[in-house]
């Protein structure tokens, strides 16, 4: 359940930004979670709702956008879309893949009032 630690980070990041902008309330948080990020998006969402209690984010809506996994295949020298770690290159079936995208866990933006 490291999602709760991550959720606490989300709340801290959003609260800091909201205070800095002299906002009283955060009503929505948009997160980007890559396909290869070390997190389960549904659990993260649930944990964010828990961690938001008694903060400026109480009752806020948490939206998670999934970003696709990408890799560079050294066998066929192509950028490829990769669904999961451990899957072969969809073009050549090789496994010599370097992940180039889909690892991020970011707070994209927040709606404040």
């Amino acid at each position: 359940m490291h999602e709760l630690s991550l959720a606490e980070n989300v709340i801290r990041i959003a609260e800091d930004a909201a205070r800095h902008a002299a906002a009283k309330r955060v009503s929505r948080v948009r997160l980007a979670v890559g396909a290869f990020a070390h997190v389960d998006p549904d659990t993260l969402q649930f944990c964010c709702e828990l961690a938001a209690r008694q903060t400026l984010l109480e009752g806020a809506e948490f939206l998670v956008e999934r970003t696709p996994g990408q890799a560079f295949c050294k066998d066929c020298a192509q950028d490829v879309a990769l669904e999961r770690i451990g899957f072969p290159c969809p073009l050549c079936g090789g496994f010599d893949l370097r992940v180039t995208g889909g690892e991020e866990m970011r707070v994209l933006d927040i709606a404040v009032s």
Binding site: A21, H38, I85, G86, F95, R106, D109, A111
Partner: protein
């Protein structure tokens, strides 16, 4: 009421029924939405245009693009810098519970025979049993108890390093071994400031663990296959395990090791010595 001009739709009905409105407008109707670049201040108001937006909170969007792990990663970098300044080679040992991490550490300290000083940080939810096992070898050890926590983070390790320093136990040009909480999932996400994560997979586990828990094996720079003295009694397919590990982490180095028979220790100690030499050169 629209805060631009005072118009309002509060009393409007259609066939006697008030139309349902979304609480927050979005898109071009979100007339009060402002987009702020960067941290927050000096917000640039978007042109208000002519659109009325009654019953919309004066809500605005602040763009952050902030990495969720940024605070951990910054602390991890600070740990890494401090360790580098002292020429310390630091490893983060990760595995399931019961793979033999602590036994590996105890045997390693004994066989290392003070080539460099060694210090250990132990992570467990509860008890100081592991730190006591390490201290029995003569090496200094700090026990982190995470309580309900499932992983070590950079902040905990910074505290452990401060404790070791206060005891004068974090010496220059030494080896630092951090044993993470036994868990093949959560510790993968948290950088502690180590030079490498070392994953340990015992042959009493399934050989497909690297595919079942790819995040951890992908984060590792070395895989130790432990308890290989038990292979004659098991159906564990070593080649398949290594193949699957390299499926998630191309080129992953593998050492087959037994603390009972001592097999593989020459390779492991040589790997440690090479890492220490590199850390000392800076």
């Amino acid at each position: 009421m629209c805060t631009t001009c005072g118009c309002g739709h509060g009393e409007t009905t259609i066939n006697g029924i008030a139309p349902v409105r979304k609480r927050h407008a979005s898109g071009p109707l979100g007339a009060y939405r402002r987009l702020e670049q960067g941290a927050a201040h000096a917000a640039e108001a978007a042109p208000l245009g002519a659109a009325h937006a009654p019953e919309v909170d004066p809500e605005r969007t602040i763009r952050l693009e902030h990495d969720i792990l940024a605070s951990n990663d910054a602390l991890a970098e600070a740990n890494r810098r401090q360790l580098a300044q002292q020429g310390i080679f630091a490893l983060n040992l990760v595995s399931s519970p019961g793979s033999g991490k602590t036994t590996l550490l105890v045997e390693t300290i004994q066989r290392w025979a003070r080539q460099t000083p060694v210090a250990v940080v132990e992570g467990d939810q509860q008890t100081a049993n592991d730190a006591e096992r390490i201290r029995a070898t003569g090496a200094p050890a700090v026990q982190i108890n995470t309580g309900k926590g499932c992983h070590l983070d950079a902040h905990m390790v910074a505290g452990a390093l401060a404790t070791l320093r206060a005891e004068n136990a974090l010496q220059d040009n030494s080896l630092l071994l951090i044993e993470n909480v036994g868990n093949l999932v959560c510790p993968a996400a948290f950088d502690l400031g180590e030079a490498h994560k070392v994953a340990i997979l015992s042959v009493t586990e399934g050989e497909d663990k690297p595919l079942k828990y790819p995040d951890m094996f992908r984060a590792a720079d070395l895989l130790i296959l432990s308890k290989i003295d038990l292979l004659p009694y098991l159906d564990f397919d070593v080649d398949a395990a290594i193949r699957m590990a390299r499926q998630v982490r191309p080129g992953l180095e593998v050492i087959r090791l037994s603390t009972r028979s001592g097999e593989g220790f020459d390779d492991w100690l040589a790997w440690l010595a090479a890492g220490c030499a590199k850390a000392q050169r800076g």
